[in-house]
């Protein structure tokens, strides 16, 4: 704050994006909005929009805590105020004299403390257990949403705060994942999932593909490409390497095998991303993103894309960057699952 000349920093959260608020006040609020206000002299106050939140937070943080009926009017208008989350804040809450602190706070959040890494380890462990349950439960004739219900129930039973999950099933006609549908699993289906449980606010992710029945030669060949690309990323990551190169080493495997066109945005989104209080944090792993990997970043490398061999396939693990390389937080076997 001192470097930027800010007298007051506001960290805003709403029911979808709680991450900026939670990076300072790690409290899972129920109401629609929450705001943490930090002054340069280190005084903290919290504005909440639901009375239950006020009572539940009281005594847990050394701050002046208020619940307000009119959130817009309650936001203090101070000079030299910066807001993290300003971009997604409702326009009526934003004073034009403020500036955005989103990028600056996001950058601070990229590098995790030992305590944060512990939560991410717990979340990754839960992701492993959740995926095991996913594989054990999936069966012919089951609908996608029924499988998701079983996995959600499992994760919540084990204490997950939330879970971000996408799924798809079928063959070469599948171009991406989305929420579950009523489609029922058939023999030979590839069932892809991105499973992202949340522990104490922090998300870790696992991506795997399960084939119902004996995988075809094409499915096996496709998986070998994904596995090699993800392993290339894992071997490449260390402090100082560029994010664009991290994307490139994965894409190069596809190019070498003659599938370069399937690394474009027509078929895929990103080759990975950071993880933390939001399941899809910056930087995105793409060849046109110029950013540097550093120690204590936690990210997933996932070369998920469509291939004509197999349809959409996914494969990825949560990784923590160490002094000399990276360590995998997921322990699930690196293989094409089948049953």
């Amino acid at each position: 704050m001192a470097e930027s000349g800010w007298d007051c920093l506001l960290l805003y959260g709403h029911s979808w994006r709680k991450d900026f608020f939670r990076c300072l006040v790690n409290f899972n609020f129920f109401g629609p909005y929450a705001l943490a206000l930090l002054t340069r002299s280190n005084e903290l106050s919290v504005l909440l929009s639901h009375p239950w939140d006020q009572e539940n937070l009281a005594g847990r943080v050394d701050a002046d805590i208020k619940c307000v009926a009119n959130f817009a009017e309650a936001i203090p208008s101070k000079s030299k105020t910066a807001i993290a989350g300003r971009e997604f804040m409702e326009a009526r809450f934003v004073d034009e004299s403020t500036v955005s602190a989103t990028a600056a706070v996001e950058k601070l959040r990229r590098f995790k403390t030992p305590a944060e890494i512990q939560f991410l380890e717990q979340a990754a462990h839960l992701a492993d257990e959740g995926y095991r349950h996913f594989v054990d439960t999936a069966e012919l004739g089951m609908a996608e949403y029924e499988l998701v219900a079983e996995v959600e129930g499992f994760l919540k039973t084990r204490g997950a705060e939330d879970n971000f999950m996408l799924i798809a099933s079928g063959g070469r006609e599948v171009f991406g994942m989305r929420p579950p549908t009523e489609r029922r699993f058939q023999k030979g289906d590839s069932i892809t999932t991105e499973l992202t449980p949340q522990v104490n606010g922090y998300y870790a992710q696992i991506c795997r593909t399960l084939v119902l029945g004996e995988p075809s030669e094409d499915q096996r060949l496709a998986f070998s490409i994904f596995c090699e690309a993800q392993t290339a990323a894992e071997n490449f990551i260390k402090p100082g390497v560029n994010i664009s190169d991290l994307a490139r080493v994965q894409n190069d495997v596809f190019r070498r095998e003659g599938y370069g066109e399937y690394t474009s945005s027509k078929y895929t989104r990103v080759r990975g991303h950071n993880l933390g209080l939001y399941p899809d944090e910056n930087p995105y792993v793409l060849e046109d993103v110029d950013d540097v990997v550093n120690q204590n970043m936690v990210l997933i490398a996932h070369p998920n894309t469509y291939l004509p061999l197999s349809g959409y396939m996914v494969f990825g693990d949560t990784l923590v960057v160490t002094e000399t390389g990276c360590v995998r937080l997921n322990q699930t076997e690196k293989k094409l699952f089948s049953k």
Binding site: E90, R92, A149, E152, G159, F175, Y267
Partner: protein, 243 residues
């Protein structure tokens, strides 16, 4: 998880319901000489766009555009790879990449010679989009929600909420009978499984021993006299019940 099963069951909400809702909007657009109404949607604010089109995003952001004289258009932050899925669960056919929303909006306005557009509760748009769409030559005017978005006066909306409430009452009631002595996480896990199997899209469960207000589960044992608050989303319709 946000979100689970997202479908459009036409036996629950027939297409003519959306036609009627959109026609009501078009009447207001006509009265106010507006070419189209923009409705913002994301995970935290999905209610109005769902009401007009059955759109329920699971991630990212979108701007639903209801033109006065042509079918709906969606400016969508999600990948074109899921446009087919969006078309299968909504009334929307025309879907375009959103970018920063302003550019495709201005292109659309130019393509159709639009000069005045309405925005549903404009001051509740995210600040970045609010700023971007007001940076061009197209005049953007606020349309206050009560003029076009009246879910509480819509029979289908109320029927869907009643269906969701009945689901909560039945499943929560069932599970509470057996829950004393269980760990709260296990109780919540059972609720998740049952509600999502019954077609719920999203679920928030808070529990209370009676000594505090409801709060997320902590791993505590549920005692006699505990209460639970369930906020449930079914086909985009949120209800909340505490037992």
């Amino acid at each position: 998880m946000k979100r689970g099963l997202i479908i459009w069951d036409k036996s629950e909400i027939p297409p003519e319901v959306f036609v009627r809702r959109v026609d009501d909007v078009r009447r207001v657009l006509e009265e106010r000489s507006l070419a189209a109404l923009m409705v913002y949607s994301d995970l935290a604010r999905s209610h109005p766009a769902r009401f007009f089109s059955n759109l329920m995003l699971y991630f990212n952001r979108a701007l639903l555009i209801i033109p006065r004289e042509s079918p709906l258009t969606l400016l969508c932050g999600l990948s074109p790879r899921v446009y087919g899925w969006i078309r299968s669960v909504t009334t929307i056919e025309d879907i375009r990449p959103a970018g920063n929303f302003a550019r495709p909006l201005f292109e659309l306005a130019k393509e159709r010679s639009w000069t005045r557009l309405g925005a549903l509760d404009l001051d509740q748009f995210p600040y970045d989009i609010h700023k971007a769409i007001r940076s061009g030559s197209v005049e953007i005017l606020n349309v206050e929600a009560p003029a076009v978005f009246r879910p509480d006066a819509d029979e289908t909306e109320l029927a869907m909420r009643q269906k969701a409430s009945a689901m909560v009452e039945e499943i929560l009631g069932d599970e509470m009978r057996e829950a004393v002595g269980s760990i709260d996480h296990h109780f919540v896990g059972r609720l998740e499984r049952r509600f999502r199997r019954a077609g719920a899209e999203d679920l928030i469960v808070l529990v209370s021993s009676g000594r505090t207000v409801p709060a997320p589960p902590t791993g505590a044992t549920l005692e006699e006299g505990f209460s639970a608050c369930v906020a449930l989303e079914y086909r985009g319709h949120w209800v909340q019940l505490t037992l």
